[in-house]
Subunit: 385 residues, 2 copies
Amino acid sequence: MTGDVPDDDLLARVFLARVIEPGDEVAGRWVREWGVCEVARRLRSGGVTLPGVGDKRRAGLVARAGRAEPRADLAVAREAGVRFVSPGDGEWPGQLDDLGDARPLGLWVRGPASLRMWALRSVAVVGARACTEYGAHMAATLAAGLAERGWVVVSGGAYGVDGAAHRGALGAGGATVAVLACGVDRAYPKGHAQLINRIAEQGLVVGELPPGDHPTPSRFVLRNRVIAALTRGTVVVEAAHRSGSLVTARAAQRLGRHTMGVPGPATSGLSAGVHELLRGDATLVTDAAEVVELVGDMGELAPDRRGPVLPRDLLDAPARRVLAALPGTRTATADEVARGAQTTEDDAIARLYELRSLGYVERHGDGWKLTRQAMISVRSGRSPC
Amino acid sequence: MTGDVPDDDLLARVFLARVIEPGDEVAGRWVREWGVCEVARRLRSGGVTLPGVGDKRRAGLVARAGRAEPRADLAVAREAGVRFVSPGDGEWPGQLDDLGDARPLGLWVRGPASLRMWALRSVAVVGARACTEYGAHMAATLAAGLAERGWVVVSGGAYGVDGAAHRGALGAGGATVAVLACGVDRAYPKGHAQLINRIAEQGLVVGELPPGDHPTPSRFVLRNRVIAALTRGTVVVEAAHRSGSLVTARAAQRLGRHTMGVPGPATSGLSAGVHELLRGDATLVTDAAEVVELVGDMGELAPDRRGPVLPRDLLDAPARRVLAALPGTRTATADEVARGAQTTEDDAIARLYELRSLGYVERHGDGWKLTRQAMISVRSGRSPC
C-alpha cells in the first residue's frame, strides 16, 4: 500500500510508529489535535501543513512516510508472534496516557499475558549495565522477592542490573516485562537473545519501535519514559553519575510514581548516582518488602478490605479456567494450576498474575491461592464484586 | 569537708555531679527550681523535702550525698589535668542548654582547647563498635575531611567507628573531642588508653562523670545525648538495628540538629540501622563536603560575607599570639605557627580551631591562613569586628 493513506486508526498508528521517533512531542500534539488518520494523510501529501518543524526535519518525516508500509509491518509482526496494542485497545495500559504528547503511538507486544493487567501491579528494577556483583545480587533478590509477592518486574533487557532483575523474576516463577529500545522481534543486546526469548514465553517483551528497527542512543533514553510510566514505581539498583537509569528515575518522579534507590558503599562509583537520587526525593529501599510497602496500595497492607475490581463474568475464558483450577482454600503451584486448567505453565503464570492484579488470587512463596474475597464468592456462588 | 554543705555554686555542682546520675530529669527540675546549693543542702539533710522520687531512690541519693567530697574530687581532677566547666563559665557550650532538665550539671574537661569554641563548629561521627573495614575507612575519611575543612570531630572514644573517627581527625592534624561515659581521668576502653591520652594532648576529653567513675550501660546511652547536643549534627557511619548510635542520632533529631547517615551495602547488617535512619528524616552523606554543606552555616558557602564575631581585643593572650604568628596572606602549617607563637604544635592546633570558630582563620589542606575579613583588619590595623 506504499503511497496509500492508511484508512483506519490502527493502520494509521502503525504507519506513524514507523515515521515518528519515540517521544516526539511535536508530532504528539499533531496527533492530539487532528487525529492519527489526518496526520498520516498530511505526511503522505508532503507535510507542508504540519507546523512546528523545520524544513529539513519535515523532509525527513515525509521521506520516511513514503517508505512506510503498515500492512507489511503488521504481517511481519504477526509472523513473529507480535501484536500491536494501541490506546483504546482492551490491552492498552491507561497509565501511559500520563505521558501526554509523548505518549507512544502504540506498543508492539510479544508474550502470553495482558500488558494492561500486568502493568497494574508492576515495579521497574533498573540500573547499570556494567554493574558489580553486589548490584547483580541485589537486582536478582529484589526481583525474586517482588515476584513472590505477586508483583510484575519491568526492566530494559540490558546487560547488568536489567538482566539480573529479569532472571531473578523468571527464576522465582514470576512475571517480568522487558521494554526494548528496538523492534521486539529483534533481540538486543545479542548476548541476551536467549533471555529475551524466554521472557517472551513466560512474560512480555514490549517496545514502541516497529519490527526490525534498531536501537539508537536517543531511543534508549526515550524508552526509559515508557518503563517509568508503565509501573507504579522505579527502583534504581546501581547507577553511576549521569547514568541512563537516573533518567528513568527522574521520569518516574515527574510522573508522580515512586522513585526508590538501593544504597551501596559510599566508595563505589556505581552507587554514586543512586546516592545522588537518595539525597533528593527518592526513598531508600533494601528489600522487596520495603518496595511493596511503598508501591502497594492500601490493599497490600490490609488485603481483607479489598475485593476484585472486575466481575468474574467479565474475565476471558483462559483466566476463568485458571481461576477454576485453583483449590478452594489451600495453595497450589503454577504447575498444578496449569494441569488443572489444561494449559502450559507459562500460560498459567500469565493468567495468575492477571488474576493477582484483579484481586482474585495471591501468591504465597511458591504457591498460589484464592484471596479471602474470591473464596467467599466461590462458596456463596456470587461474583466477588 | 564530708558532711558539710557545699557553699558555692561550683562546689555544689561538683557535689551533685557525684550524687546525681547523668540525664536525671527529676533532679534537673530540682536544680532549675531551687538552685544547686539548695538541692545540695536538702540532700545533705536527709532529702525528705525532695519530691518526685520514691523512698528507695531518695535513700540511695542521700547515701551518695553522704560520701561525696567535692573538694577532694576537684583536687584529684586538678592533679590529672582535668578542669570542671559549668553552666555560666566562659568555656560552657551554651547549646547544651537545649537539653533542658537533662542538661549536665557540669563537664569535666581534659585538653588544651576551649570546649565552647570548638563545639561551635563541631560534628559528631559515631557508629558501631564492631564495625567493618568499610565502616572504619568511611569514619576515618570523613573525619579527616572534616578536620581539613576546619571542623571539629566529636565521638565517644569507643572501639570501631568512634576510634577510627578520632584517629582520622588526629591524623589530619585536626581537632577532635572524645565524650566519655566515665571519669575523664580514666581511659575507657582500656585498649584505647593511648588514643585517649593523645586526644587529651591534641584535642579534648570530656565527660559528665567525676574522676574515677566507671561506665555503665545507662551511662553510655545518656552520654550520647551530650554528643548530640554539643554538635551541629551527627553522622552515623555504621549501626545495626537497635544500636546505641541510633540513640545519638535520634537525640540529635529531637534537638533539631542535623542527622546524617553513610549508606552501605543493603546486605550488611551493620548498615541496617543507618538505612533505617535514612528511610526516615536523616540525610544520606557520602563525604565530608556533603556533611559540611548541611551543617555549615551560610558562611560556609559564602565565607566573604562573614567576619569574626569576637573582637580581637577579647581574645586571650595565647590565641592572640597564634593569630599574630600567621603570615599576612599565605598559608602556614600548624608547626610553623607554633614556632612563631613560641608554643607547642598541639597548643597551636587548639588555638587555630578556636580562631576558626571565630572566623579569624581558615584551613586549606594542611595549611592555615587568615580569612579575608581578618586580613583586611590586620592591614587596616582595626579589629575585624
